[in-house]
């Protein structure tokens, strides 16, 4: 059950009707028509514009199925025929992260966003925007390459490549598993980055190596630092996180942990990495 109230779409003037608490579902009006306000963009570098569509809400529909309805008849409320809205999606069960977008001013996955909760009444409006921290490919589809680039900055993997069999991995205690399981749930959706005031749009890939790495990568560095084999790269990960755009760039706004759809303790990861780099830096200074 969702238990938050999505903020009104800033600048769009769309309030999304009443709040979208879990209770909305029970009072959703059957057969109602809702308004869908979509931020459109023809392609990279092009100006964006708003288009509003009227859609007959189907029971149990989500944002993706509404976008499919619009695609089948792309006519705006003004009666103008337009192109179908482009969006990205994959699993449709909130585990791949591809369909992440800004809905009523707040980032989340569109597949798990139920229309009955967000627009329960006749004429209620729902606002869809692409994430603002990644370059728009078209309409609601963004290019999340930087997110994956940042995972490579901290070598977010276990080094097992080689020319011979390494044998079975070391055992992990249940306590380690408990800590790491929560971190392993990250699906690289980008919610934490979209909500972060320190993570800003950077279209130039040459600047990606020194701009803020983001909560997801810091948390993944912790995940692999705590892995018995992944620990081999701990020093390299911490060095990367001490440089420009590393963990020091975090401003402790703590939005990341609040918007994470997987409830990953991102701020605890940031603090844990903060502790690790403190120890690493002091040890390195005395060791030489």
């Amino acid at each position: 059950m969702l238990n938050f109230t999505p903020a009104a779409g800033a600048g769009s003037g769309a309030g999304g009707g009443s709040g979208a608490g879990g209770g909305n579902r029970a009072r959703a009006v059957p057969g109602r028509t809702i308004r869908v306000r979509v931020k459109r963009c023809e392609g990279p570098g092009k100006a964006s514009r708003w288009e509003v569509f009227a859609v007959k809400a189907e029971a149990g529909s989500n944002v993706i199925s509404v976008l499919q309805q619009i695609a089948s008849n792309p006519v705006t409320v003004e009666g103008e025929r337009t192109t179908p809205v482009v969006w990205d999606s994959g699993c449709l069960e909130e585990v791949c992260g591809a369909c992440t977008m800004v809905i009523n001013g707040r980032v989340r996955q569109s597949c798990s966003c139920l229309i009955d909760e967000y627009a329960p009444g006749e004429g209620d409006e729902i606002t869809l925007e692409p994430m603002s921290k990644f370059p728009v490919v078209r309409d609601l589809w963004v290019d999340r390459s930087r997110l994956f680039h940042n995972l490579s900055r901290v070598k977010a993997w276990v080094p097992i490549d080689g020319t011979y069999n390494l044998g079975p991995g070391p055992r992990e205690t249940p306590a380690q598993q408990e800590t790491r399981y929560a971190l392993s749930e990250c699906m690289s959706c980008g919610c934490c980055l979209e909500a972060c005031p320190q993570f800003t749009l950077e279209e130039d890939p040459k600047a990606w190596g020194t701009s803020f790495i983001g909560a997801h990568a810091i948390s993944q560095a912790r995940l692999f630092n705590e892995h018995a084999t992944g620990r081999a790269l701990k020093g390299e990960r911490l060095e990367a996180l001490m440089g420009p755009g590393g963990v020091s760039d975090c401003g402790n706004a703590q939005n990341c942990v609040k918007v994470c759809p997987k409830h990953i303790p991102l701020t605890e990861s940031i603090a844990a990495i903060g502790r690790a780099v403190t120890i690493h830096a002091v040890a390195r200074w005395f060791r030489g």
């Binding site: 903020a7 707040r106 701020t267 502790r275």
Partner: protein
């Protein structure tokens, strides 16, 4: 690679550290001293009776002025290497301010969309930093460096007449409030309030930055400690300011003069 990039981590951590030592520690000492304007009578422990400022013994205001004056005199005459301490403080504040602005400019606040309390504090930490820089500069330039042309009424702060000259610099004249004096006093209220917030909140974020508080529970607990410290410092800051703007500079001057010359005077003289 630039200097900033080569020493990135060290500079970031020094920025965090200087906010606590020496700046934060000094802020606590400064507010304890200044708030004695209000609680100073208790600090005199009966010693004030021998000055007998008025017919009815030592009043709260007179006690505050006397105790505060003794504190300020002690600092200026007994603390060794005072100028060295001051220069260290000014350098630390300049370092913290310059890097702080540089770091603050890397982010873009989004409290309109994510109106969480933590996120609001992120925004206020930056706002309070900007205003705090202006305030500290004005405060030190006028009351320490003697830039009296920036003071309404042109009062020059003197450590021999700590309360009376402070009250004049805040009120704009010896006799009462002036319009410019009101503006200065309002600026002081905003400045000290924002700086106390900046320190208390900075102490909370520093614990996360250094990895002192890791779990969400530990962060909440430490948040309670920082809130308590912040409330205490805010009470001291407000009481100091309240006392400074409500004391009559002429009455304060009489108390200071009696301390200076070790003789008995009454405010009416």
């Amino acid at each position: 690679m630039s200097f900033m990039d080569r020493h990135y981590f060290l500079l970031r951590r020094l920025h965090s550290l200087t906010g606590i030592v020496p700046i934060g520690v000094f802020l606590i000492a400064h507010l304890v001293t200044n708030s004695s304007l209000l609680w100073g009578k208790a600090g005199l422990r009966g010693e004030g009776e021998k000055y007998s400022f008025g017919a009815d013994g030592v009043t709260l205001g007179e006690g505050g002025v006397a105790y505060f004056q003794k504190e300020v005199t002690w600092i200026n005459e007994q603390v060794p290497h005072l100028l060295l301490i001051e220069i260290t403080l000014w350098a630390a504040i300049a370092f913290h301010a310059v890097l702080g602005v540089y770091y603050a400019r890397t982010g873009r606040s989004n409290t309109d969309r994510y109106a969480y309390q933590d996120n609001r504090r992120y925004a206020w930490q930056r706002i309070s930093g900007y205003v705090g820089i202006l305030f500290i500069f004005y405060h030190v330039a006028t009351l320490r460096w003697g830039w009296s042309w920036l003071v309404p009424g042109g009062a020059v702060w003197s450590h021999d007449a700590a309360t009376s000259t402070l009250a004049m610099a805040l009120r704009g004249s010896e006799s009462g409030w002036t319009g410019a004096g009101l503006v200065v006093s309002a600026f002081y209220f905003a400045g000290v309030s924002l700086l106390v917030f900046h320190f208390a909140n900075g102490l909370w974020t520093a614990a996360v930055t250094w990895g002192l508080t890791v779990s969400a529970r530990a962060q909440r607990r430490w948040g309670g400690v920082c809130l308590g410290l912040g409330v205490g410092l805010m009470a001291m800051a407000w009481s100091a300011l309240f006392a400074a703007v409500t004391i009559d500079p002429r009455e304060a001057r009489a108390v200071e003069a009696s301390l200076e010359q070790g003789r008995v005077v009454s405010p009416g003289e």
